[in-house]
Amino acid sequence: MGHSRRSPYRRRWPVGLIFVSPALLFIAAFMVYPVSHLIALSFHEYSPLRSADLRWVGVGNYTQVLANQETYRSIWASIQFTAGSVVIEMIAGLAGAICLAAVTLRLVGRFGSSLNRLFAGLFILPLAAPTVVAAVVWKLLLDPEIGPVNATLSTTIAWFTDYPMVSVIVADAWKTIPFITFLLYAAILSIEPSQFEAAKLDGANAWQEFWHLTLPSILPVVAVTAAFRTVDAFTKAFDIVFATTGGGPGDDTMVFPLFIWRTAFSNLHFGEASALAVIAIIISGLCGAGLLFFIRSRPGR
């Protein structure tokens, strides 16, 4: 930073602290303190239904949850959900973005430009749609008896019971694909138009243009988006499952975040839930570190 001349900002360092301290106090009180309490709790047995006392059990909660098959089943469910949703969303989002760009880059005239605005508006809507709404709408659409999907296909499939993970992924994909489309579309628009003209002069067809120009140019954005989505799907998927299957049938869709929440608030095993929560934070931290490393190691970003 160029602070060679006497900058009025540099010498008064406590001023910075004055501005930061309200946020800092808030985060310390309502994030740092609870999380340290969580860590302490993970070494205690605490089941408020049985007794209000905390009993020190050392790493007992950790050995218990790590020996529990349900823990691994929920991590497996999270892996399935993450892999399925990220792959589908990235492929469909990329296809959508390329077609959208193919249309809007070639639109001309007044009607063309209003159509352009309409599409841009259309594809930001799902971002504002609450996940809960995506969940309940798809529950109706995929309902075995009164759902229009079965009526259209002339089938009687109980989607959320027979194919629960697929159905949850469909609901999640519906909400997320337009968002990915939008991000990648913005990346395509930032490619210099002269490059497309040069490709055309070289006689490239649509496929060659995509393979040699568009895809390499937006690959960094594709990679970062996919990485962010992966971390999010693994560590934060909650609403879409909670409001559709609730983790069932059995625990087929009991993804890890939901499993932690259920252990705490359905079974009221606060000690074990804390151990799971600490494990989740560690996993999330490792993912985050990996993500950071991944982004930093890419040249040009």
């Binding site: 406590p14 946020a23 994030m31 930001i124 809507l125 809960v132 709404v133 694909i177 929440w261």
Partner: protein, 277 residues
């Protein structure tokens, strides 16, 4: 009417067809929800389902208020959204400004430490937060919701706004300083105005976060007094009977405000997406 430049027309027409199909797939579920919101429960339970309501009714919408507490839930959701946005902007805006304009020993480390709190998975965080709110006797209140949603949102706000302040020219603020204005005066009178677009973006994202959050209200509250609309909608499908009509009306009711605001602030939303990723 001319849509495409002549030479590109055939290829672009195919792409347009595909985009229109995508848009229809994206919109059909919303359309189904909207139409179902005005059907009677008998009609929704009819096999095969109807697309257009045979007799449209407002019963579902009324039922939301008479049976599913949407009056108080609406008030709660508006209050929570308002305070989450205000607190996020005030705390996060000031912190981002301080970190950007008055760096001090360790401030860069502090910035990154704040970002790291984003890695705390919300499902892990709500258990100790619940115990804390319980001991403060704040469960089943909107205060607990404002605190929980804001603290999860703050790192994001600082993450967006600090680089935004970094990119703003300092001339105006330096001139104000020469005129004898103190740092807080400069922040209040000039920096906030200059950073208007960034604040708008952050306000929009904070609003959407607060308006659509489910985890915090269902964790902190067991009664409508402490729920927002999302929690109310989830509650509607527990029990033996699903009130599909009311559920769809509730979905529409919850979605419309955030759609309208997102469209009205499309520019801020687009800018936010480009800086976030």
């Amino acid at each position: 009417m001319k849509l495409f430049a002549k030479r590109a027309a055939p290829k672009a027409a195919w792409a347009l067809a595909f985009v229109i199909i995508l848009a229809i797939v994206a919109l059909l579920p919303i359309a189904w929800m909207t139409l179902s919101a005005f059907k009677s429960d008998d009609e929704i339970n009819q096999i095969p389902p109807t697309f257009w309501p045979q007799t449209s009714t407002l019963d579902n919408l009324l039922q939301l208020f008479t049976q599913f507490h949407f009056g108080i839930l609406t008030v709660n959701t508006v209050i929570v959204s308002f305070f989450v946005v205000t607190l996020s902007l005030a705390l996060g805006g000031a912190a981002a400004y301080g970190l950007s304009r008055y760096p001090f020993f360790g401030s860069n480390l502090l910035f990154h430490a704040i970002l790291v709190t984003r890695l705390v998975t919300p499902a892990s965080f709500v258990l100790p937060l619940y115990l804390m709110m319980d001991s403060l006797r704040l469960t089943n209140t909107v205060t607990a919701l404002v605190i929980g949603i804001t603290v999860l949102n703050l790192p994001f706000v600082i993450w967006i706004l600090k680089p935004f302040f970094d990119s703003l020219p300092r001339e105006v603020e330096e001139a104000a300083q020469l005129d004898g204005l103190g740092p807080i005066g400069i922040f209040w009178r000039f920096a906030i105005t200059l950073a208007g677009p960034g604040f708008k973006t952050v306000a929009l994202f904070s609003f959407i976060t607060a308006w659509t959050d489910l985890l915090i209200p269902i964790t902190m509250s067991t009664r409508p007094e402490g729920w927002t609309l999302t929690a109310g909608i989830v509650q509607m499908q527990t029990g033996f009977k699903i009130y599909w009509g009311a559920l769809m009306a509730g979905g529409l009711y919850l979605t419309l405000p955030s759609f309208i605001i997102a469209i009205a602030m499309q520019k801020a939303l687009t800018r936010g997406l480009r800086t976030t990723f």
